[in-house]
Amino acid sequence: MDRVCVCVLPMSSLRPNYPLYIRSTPTENELKFHYMVHTSLDVVDEKISAMGKALVDQRELYLGLLYPTEDYKVYGYVTNSKVKFVMVVDSSNTALRDNEIRSMFRKLHNSYTDVMCNPFYNPGDRIQSRAFDNMVTSMMIQVC
Protein backbone atom coordinates (compact mmCIF):
# COMPACT_ATOMS: atom_id res chain seq x y z
CA MET A 1 0.00 0.00 0.00
CA ASP A 2 1.61 3.22 -1.10
CA ARG A 3 1.90 5.97 1.37
CA VAL A 4 1.53 9.64 0.71
CA CYS A 5 1.16 12.73 2.81
CA VAL A 6 0.11 16.28 1.98
CA CYS A 7 0.70 19.32 4.11
CA VAL A 8 -0.02 23.05 3.93
CA LEU A 9 1.90 25.49 6.07
CA PRO A 10 1.57 29.25 6.33
CA MET A 11 4.10 31.85 7.07
CA SER A 12 2.35 33.76 9.80
CA SER A 13 4.35 35.60 12.36
CA LEU A 14 2.25 34.30 15.25
CA ARG A 15 2.82 30.63 14.69
CA PRO A 16 5.28 30.23 11.87
CA ASN A 17 5.32 26.86 10.17
CA TYR A 18 2.36 25.51 12.06
CA PRO A 19 0.54 23.23 9.62
CA LEU A 20 -2.84 24.45 8.46
CA TYR A 21 -3.65 21.09 7.00
CA ILE A 22 -1.92 17.78 7.12
CA ARG A 23 -3.26 14.54 5.86
CA SER A 24 -1.72 11.21 5.08
CA THR A 25 -2.89 7.87 3.86
CA PRO A 26 -2.89 5.34 5.38
CA THR A 27 -3.28 7.04 8.69
CA GLU A 28 -0.92 5.03 10.76
CA ASN A 29 2.63 6.43 10.99
CA GLU A 30 1.14 9.90 10.91
CA LEU A 31 3.63 11.11 13.48
CA LYS A 32 6.49 9.99 11.27
CA PHE A 33 5.06 12.06 8.42
CA HIS A 34 4.69 15.08 10.69
CA TYR A 35 8.34 14.73 11.62
CA MET A 36 9.48 14.42 8.02
CA VAL A 37 7.50 17.47 6.97
CA HIS A 38 9.03 19.43 9.80
CA THR A 39 12.57 18.49 8.89
CA SER A 40 11.97 19.27 5.24
CA LEU A 41 10.97 22.82 6.17
CA ASP A 42 14.63 23.66 6.65
CA VAL A 43 15.32 22.65 3.09
CA VAL A 44 12.37 24.75 1.91
CA ASP A 45 13.64 27.81 3.73
CA GLU A 46 17.06 27.28 2.27
CA LYS A 47 15.69 27.12 -1.25
CA ILE A 48 13.56 30.21 -0.73
CA SER A 49 16.51 32.28 0.40
CA ALA A 50 18.60 30.91 -2.45
CA MET A 51 16.00 32.14 -4.98
CA GLY A 52 16.69 35.66 -3.79
CA LYS A 53 15.82 38.33 -6.31
CA ALA A 54 15.08 35.96 -9.17
CA LEU A 55 11.88 36.55 -11.12
CA VAL A 56 9.20 34.40 -9.60
CA ASP A 57 7.14 32.54 -12.16
CA GLN A 58 5.13 29.34 -12.03
CA ARG A 59 8.13 27.13 -12.46
CA GLU A 60 10.01 28.69 -9.63
CA LEU A 61 7.09 28.33 -7.28
CA TYR A 62 7.67 24.61 -7.56
CA LEU A 63 10.71 23.69 -5.49
CA GLY A 64 11.08 20.17 -6.75
CA LEU A 65 12.47 17.21 -4.90
CA LEU A 66 13.60 18.51 -1.54
CA TYR A 67 15.47 15.46 -0.42
CA PRO A 68 15.15 11.75 -0.92
CA THR A 69 15.41 9.35 1.94
CA GLU A 70 15.63 5.61 1.45
CA ASP A 71 11.87 5.20 1.79
CA TYR A 72 10.37 8.51 0.76
CA LYS A 73 10.66 11.45 -1.56
CA VAL A 74 9.67 14.91 -0.40
CA TYR A 75 8.48 17.62 -2.78
CA GLY A 76 7.92 21.28 -2.04
CA TYR A 77 6.04 24.25 -3.50
CA VAL A 78 5.83 27.77 -2.18
CA THR A 79 3.51 30.61 -3.17
CA ASN A 80 4.28 34.28 -3.39
CA SER A 81 2.48 34.74 -0.10
CA LYS A 82 4.95 32.33 1.48
CA VAL A 83 2.45 29.52 1.95
CA LYS A 84 4.27 26.23 1.64
CA PHE A 85 2.90 22.99 0.32
CA VAL A 86 4.82 19.82 1.10
CA MET A 87 4.14 16.41 -0.35
CA VAL A 88 5.70 13.15 0.77
CA VAL A 89 5.45 10.08 -1.45
CA ASP A 90 6.73 6.56 -1.34
CA SER A 91 10.07 6.02 -3.06
CA SER A 92 8.75 2.84 -4.59
CA ASN A 93 6.20 4.88 -6.51
CA THR A 94 8.33 5.44 -9.58
CA ALA A 95 5.33 6.00 -11.81
CA LEU A 96 4.97 9.56 -10.57
CA ARG A 97 6.71 11.92 -12.94
CA ASP A 98 7.78 15.47 -12.35
CA ASN A 99 5.00 17.13 -14.31
CA GLU A 100 2.41 15.04 -12.51
CA ILE A 101 3.71 16.33 -9.20
CA ARG A 102 3.66 19.84 -10.61
CA SER A 103 0.04 19.52 -11.67
CA MET A 104 -0.87 18.14 -8.25
CA PHE A 105 0.69 21.17 -6.62
CA ARG A 106 -1.16 23.44 -9.01
CA LYS A 107 -4.44 21.77 -8.05
CA LEU A 108 -3.57 22.16 -4.37
CA HIS A 109 -2.79 25.81 -4.91
CA ASN A 110 -6.10 26.38 -6.72
CA SER A 111 -8.10 24.65 -4.00
CA TYR A 112 -6.23 26.60 -1.36
CA THR A 113 -7.20 29.82 -3.15
CA ASP A 114 -10.84 28.74 -3.09
CA VAL A 115 -10.61 28.09 0.64
CA MET A 116 -9.13 31.55 1.17
CA CYS A 117 -12.03 33.09 -0.76
CA ASN A 118 -14.57 31.60 1.64
CA PRO A 119 -15.66 34.60 3.72
CA PHE A 120 -16.08 32.40 6.78
CA TYR A 121 -12.47 31.27 6.71
CA ASN A 122 -9.98 33.33 8.71
CA PRO A 123 -6.42 33.16 7.43
CA GLY A 124 -4.37 31.22 9.93
CA ASP A 125 -7.20 28.86 10.88
CA ARG A 126 -6.90 25.15 10.25
CA ILE A 127 -8.44 24.28 6.91
CA GLN A 128 -11.76 22.54 7.45
CA SER A 129 -13.29 22.87 4.01
CA ARG A 130 -15.09 19.88 2.62
CA ALA A 131 -14.19 20.79 -0.95
CA PHE A 132 -10.51 20.88 -0.05
CA ASP A 133 -10.76 17.51 1.74
CA ASN A 134 -12.46 15.97 -1.28
CA MET A 135 -9.83 17.28 -3.63
CA VAL A 136 -6.99 15.93 -1.47
CA THR A 137 -8.74 12.56 -1.16
CA SER A 138 -9.13 12.22 -4.91
CA MET A 139 -5.51 13.22 -5.41
CA MET A 140 -4.29 10.65 -2.90
CA ILE A 141 -6.38 7.94 -4.51
CA GLN A 142 -4.85 8.85 -7.83
CA VAL A 143 -1.35 8.45 -6.43
CA CYS A 144 -1.76 5.22 -4.50
Binding site: D114, V115, C117, N118, P119, F120, Y121, Q128, S129, R130, A131
Partner: protein, 180 residues
Protein backbone atom coordinates in the same frame (compact mmCIF):
# COMPACT_ATOMS: atom_id res chain seq x y z
CA UNK B 1 -32.46 61.46 -21.35
CA UNK B 2 -28.70 61.24 -21.69
CA UNK B 3 -28.59 59.05 -18.59
CA UNK B 4 -30.90 56.59 -20.28
CA UNK B 5 -28.72 56.47 -23.37
CA UNK B 6 -25.60 55.99 -21.28
CA UNK B 7 -27.10 53.12 -19.39
CA UNK B 8 -28.28 51.42 -22.53
CA UNK B 9 -25.00 51.44 -24.41
CA UNK B 10 -22.22 50.82 -21.95
CA UNK B 11 -22.29 48.08 -19.40
CA UNK B 12 -19.24 48.30 -17.23
CA UNK B 13 -17.58 44.97 -16.71
CA UNK B 14 -16.50 44.23 -13.19
CA UNK B 15 -14.79 41.22 -11.73
CA UNK B 16 -17.32 38.88 -10.22
CA UNK B 17 -14.75 37.81 -7.65
CA UNK B 18 -14.68 41.26 -6.13
CA UNK B 19 -18.47 41.25 -5.98
CA UNK B 20 -18.60 37.82 -4.36
CA UNK B 21 -15.88 38.70 -1.85
CA UNK B 22 -17.59 41.98 -0.99
CA UNK B 23 -20.88 40.24 -0.33
CA UNK B 24 -19.08 37.61 1.73
CA UNK B 25 -17.35 40.26 3.81
CA UNK B 26 -20.71 41.93 4.36
CA UNK B 27 -22.35 38.73 5.59
CA UNK B 28 -19.48 37.76 7.90
CA UNK B 29 -19.37 41.24 9.39
CA UNK B 30 -23.12 41.06 10.06
CA UNK B 31 -22.61 37.66 11.69
CA UNK B 32 -19.97 39.12 13.97
CA UNK B 33 -22.13 42.13 14.82
CA UNK B 34 -25.35 40.28 15.53
CA UNK B 35 -24.12 36.84 16.64
CA UNK B 36 -27.56 35.43 15.92
CA UNK B 37 -28.50 33.96 12.55
CA UNK B 38 -32.11 35.13 12.65
CA UNK B 39 -31.09 38.75 13.18
CA UNK B 40 -28.60 38.53 10.35
CA UNK B 41 -31.30 37.14 8.05
CA UNK B 42 -33.59 40.05 8.94
CA UNK B 43 -30.84 42.60 8.34
CA UNK B 44 -29.99 41.08 4.98
CA UNK B 45 -33.65 41.22 4.02
CA UNK B 46 -33.91 44.84 5.10
CA UNK B 47 -30.76 45.80 3.21
CA UNK B 48 -32.05 43.98 0.17
CA UNK B 49 -35.33 45.87 0.44
CA UNK B 50 -33.49 49.19 0.43
CA UNK B 51 -31.50 48.12 -2.60
CA UNK B 52 -34.64 46.88 -4.37
CA UNK B 53 -36.64 50.11 -4.06
CA UNK B 54 -33.78 51.92 -5.80
CA UNK B 55 -32.76 49.23 -8.21
CA UNK B 56 -36.21 49.09 -9.77
CA UNK B 57 -35.73 52.58 -11.24
CA UNK B 58 -32.47 51.59 -12.83
CA UNK B 59 -34.03 48.41 -14.13
CA UNK B 60 -37.02 50.16 -15.67
CA UNK B 61 -34.79 52.78 -17.27
CA UNK B 62 -32.45 50.22 -18.78
CA UNK B 63 -34.79 47.51 -19.85
CA UNK B 64 -37.76 49.41 -21.28
CA UNK B 65 -40.22 46.70 -20.38
CA UNK B 66 -43.85 47.79 -20.34
CA UNK B 67 -46.42 47.17 -17.66
CA UNK B 68 -46.91 43.51 -16.83
CA UNK B 69 -50.50 42.38 -17.16
CA UNK B 70 -50.36 39.47 -14.79
CA UNK B 71 -48.10 37.72 -12.37
CA UNK B 72 -46.85 35.27 -14.97
CA UNK B 73 -45.48 38.09 -17.07
CA UNK B 74 -43.86 39.51 -13.97
CA UNK B 75 -42.19 36.18 -13.30
CA UNK B 76 -40.83 36.03 -16.84
CA UNK B 77 -39.45 39.53 -16.67
CA UNK B 78 -37.79 38.85 -13.32
CA UNK B 79 -36.11 35.66 -14.47
CA UNK B 80 -35.22 36.48 -18.04
CA UNK B 81 -34.44 40.18 -17.87
CA UNK B 82 -33.67 41.26 -14.32
CA UNK B 83 -31.56 38.34 -13.12
CA UNK B 84 -29.74 38.27 -16.45
CA UNK B 85 -29.02 41.98 -16.27
CA UNK B 86 -27.76 42.12 -12.71
CA UNK B 87 -26.33 38.71 -11.92
CA UNK B 88 -25.70 37.27 -15.35
CA UNK B 89 -27.77 34.16 -14.69
CA UNK B 90 -31.18 33.08 -15.96
CA UNK B 91 -33.12 31.12 -13.38
CA UNK B 92 -35.93 28.87 -14.52
CA UNK B 93 -39.53 29.28 -13.40
CA UNK B 94 -41.38 26.25 -12.11
CA UNK B 95 -43.98 25.03 -9.64
CA UNK B 96 -46.76 27.43 -10.38
CA UNK B 97 -49.54 27.13 -7.84
CA UNK B 98 -53.01 26.33 -9.23
CA UNK B 99 -54.21 29.85 -8.47
CA UNK B 100 -51.27 31.33 -10.37
CA UNK B 101 -50.06 33.41 -7.45
CA UNK B 102 -46.97 31.48 -6.41
CA UNK B 103 -43.97 30.26 -8.35
CA UNK B 104 -40.42 29.09 -7.80
CA UNK B 105 -37.23 30.48 -9.26
CA UNK B 106 -34.61 27.78 -9.65
CA UNK B 107 -31.04 29.03 -9.76
CA UNK B 108 -28.51 26.43 -10.77
CA UNK B 109 -25.61 28.54 -9.76
CA UNK B 110 -25.64 31.58 -7.56
CA UNK B 111 -22.75 34.02 -8.09
CA UNK B 112 -23.11 35.30 -4.54
CA UNK B 113 -22.00 31.97 -3.11
CA UNK B 114 -18.93 31.09 -5.18
CA UNK B 115 -16.28 29.61 -2.86
CA UNK B 116 -18.55 29.86 0.19
CA UNK B 117 -18.93 27.01 2.64
CA UNK B 118 -21.22 27.57 5.60
CA UNK B 119 -19.60 26.62 8.87
CA UNK B 120 -21.61 24.41 11.25
CA UNK B 121 -22.37 27.14 13.74
CA UNK B 122 -24.33 29.12 11.15
CA UNK B 123 -26.68 26.42 9.98
CA UNK B 124 -29.80 28.62 10.03
CA UNK B 125 -28.18 31.51 8.17
CA UNK B 126 -29.85 32.31 4.87
CA UNK B 127 -26.74 33.54 3.13
CA UNK B 128 -28.34 35.04 0.03
CA UNK B 129 -31.29 36.59 1.83
CA UNK B 130 -30.37 39.93 0.30
CA UNK B 131 -31.91 38.68 -2.95
CA UNK B 132 -35.28 38.13 -1.30
CA UNK B 133 -35.24 41.67 0.04
CA UNK B 134 -34.33 43.07 -3.38
CA UNK B 135 -37.22 41.24 -5.04
CA UNK B 136 -39.64 42.38 -2.36
CA UNK B 137 -38.52 46.03 -2.49
CA UNK B 138 -38.44 46.25 -6.26
CA UNK B 139 -41.90 44.76 -6.74
CA UNK B 140 -43.35 46.96 -4.03
CA UNK B 141 -42.37 50.01 -6.06
CA UNK B 142 -44.45 48.69 -8.95
CA UNK B 143 -47.46 48.26 -6.69
CA UNK B 144 -47.12 44.56 -5.97
CA UNK B 145 -46.76 43.17 -2.48
CA UNK B 146 -44.96 39.86 -2.63
CA UNK B 147 -43.22 37.47 -0.31
CA UNK B 148 -39.94 35.86 -1.31
CA UNK B 149 -38.12 33.15 0.57
CA UNK B 150 -35.51 30.50 0.01
CA UNK B 151 -36.75 26.93 0.11
CA UNK B 152 -33.62 25.21 -1.17
CA UNK B 153 -30.02 26.33 -0.91
CA UNK B 154 -26.88 24.78 -2.38
CA UNK B 155 -24.99 25.97 0.68
CA UNK B 156 -27.11 23.69 2.83
CA UNK B 157 -26.52 20.67 0.64
CA UNK B 158 -29.45 20.90 -1.78
CA UNK B 159 -28.81 20.40 -5.46
CA UNK B 160 -30.16 23.78 -6.57
CA UNK B 161 -31.13 27.08 -5.03
CA UNK B 162 -34.87 27.72 -5.06
CA UNK B 163 -36.66 30.97 -4.22
CA UNK B 164 -40.41 30.76 -3.69
CA UNK B 165 -42.28 33.93 -4.67
CA UNK B 166 -45.85 34.54 -3.54
CA UNK B 167 -48.11 37.34 -4.66
CA UNK B 168 -49.90 38.89 -1.68
CA UNK B 169 -51.91 41.82 -3.03
CA UNK B 170 -51.84 44.78 -5.32
CA UNK B 171 -50.85 48.00 -3.55
CA UNK B 172 -53.50 50.58 -4.33
CA UNK B 173 -52.21 53.76 -2.78
CA UNK B 174 -49.32 55.35 -4.59
CA UNK B 175 -47.41 56.51 -1.56
CA UNK B 176 -44.16 54.59 -1.45
CA UNK B 177 -43.78 52.53 1.69
CA UNK B 178 -41.30 54.01 4.10
CA UNK B 179 -38.07 52.26 4.83
CA UNK B 180 -38.49 49.93 7.77
Amino acid sequence: MSRQANRGTESKKMSSELFTLTYGALVTQLCKDYENDEDVNKQLDRMGYNIGVRLIEDFLARSNVGRCHDFRETADVIAKVAFKMYLGITPSITNWSPAGDEFSLILENNPLVDFVELPDNHSSLIYSNLLCGVLRGALEMVQMAVEAKFVQDTLKGDGVTEIRMRFLRRIEDNLPAGEE
